[in-house]
Symmetry: C2
Subunit: 252 residues, 2 copies
Amino acid sequence: MSGHLTIVGLGPGPAEWVTPAANAAIAAADVLLGYAPYLARLSPRAGQVFEASDNREELVRATRALELAGEGKRIVMVSGGDPGVFAMAAAVFEAVEKSPALANGFDIRVEPGVTAMLAAAARIGAPLGHDFCAISLSDNLKPWQVIEKRLRLAAEADFVIALYNPASKARPKQIQEAFRVLSAVRKPETTVVFARAVGRGDESIEVTTLRDAPNALCDMRTLVIIGSDATRRLQGGKGRTWVYTPRSVRDE
Amino acid sequence: MSGHLTIVGLGPGPAEWVTPAANAAIAAADVLLGYAPYLARLSPRAGQVFEASDNREELVRATRALELAGEGKRIVMVSGGDPGVFAMAAAVFEAVEKSPALANGFDIRVEPGVTAMLAAAARIGAPLGHDFCAISLSDNLKPWQVIEKRLRLAAEADFVIALYNPASKARPKQIQEAFRVLSAVRKPETTVVFARAVGRGDESIEVTTLRDAPNALCDMRTLVIIGSDATRRLQGGKGRTWVYTPRSVRDE
């Protein structure tokens, strides 16, 4: 029997955002590997093995998945959101590049999913309706000066900016530094959205401005969206606040 | 009875990439509106009305959807990909802003979906594994100098760049202009992926370099991904070519 490895994304949380393709891969797997909280969203069927691991062990987990697939097993690597966005798919290909022999004789497949910024955007309207970028604020894997340069150029390009991993217990202050960099280019009244735990029971969405953004609650479960100059805030029916970025940019 | 309007994304094509949440909204709708080729992917159930419209009529379609929801009907607006990315959700909020009274008394909801760049990335590996941006090359709705400036700054920021709407019959040459702008900043050997009709029967993926990109087939069904300096190409098992962007950036 020939094994295979499928890297799937579970979306931001609820089962209603998991694609049928991801569910089919999960149902067919002999072994599922992943960060423990992601595996905890699934229920093993008879004969299935779940191998949970810790957050910072991506490369070890990826190598293990390749080894198991090489033994002829059907392997699923689970990721939150989309597996290709700041997640496990890149880690698997890093492991393949490091040890090419590990990836011989079986198929690797990536199944796309709903990444956090799309779910966060949907909750508040359509802030990503025009050109945008996604930046991870975590400097575990890159120097802060790279992040700072990207923030500055993204602000100059007037992209809508989605910030992944904006803060954690080990990095509580970098988001403040990011707001300082952005504020040097963007207007203080630029719309900022803090979307926390989107799709979970304790979901909360806060809409504020770049001026007031430093006061907002921001942790590792938060996704931050900074609007472009064109991003608009409006009151819809039933007292809702919506944030959206129009499809067109006016000639200046 | 109180109506509502849900804007859903059907993903890039196949049913296996449509979320259960989108399917539930579609099943519950009285009237579905959308660009004809998107509606053609669905089968109306008894009592359901499909209102198909043309590509460039987004604002008319959005206004009509708001009117119908205001009459107490359950409305679904369908979009390809994710409705919040260069798609119908922004058009609906533009219509709300233009005529706020239209949006009174019913709920609006956006259901996220798998946007084209995530599906394209999954097919070829994990090119969006690190900081990236998404730019629409269509200048129907924005001046070309804005596009050019964003391309240049995105190249300087060393983002992976996903280009939506890279070419059409009316705009066959802009993608070549885009490659010229990017080539002034990025190395000629930068990896470029042309992902055409992802998820459809005639899907094709071409991996090339910025130097050779002008020779690739590129049309309105193509999504183009330009790698960062860190993006890597590797040979996996079974003769596959993979493209991925590592999670880390080295200190320079």
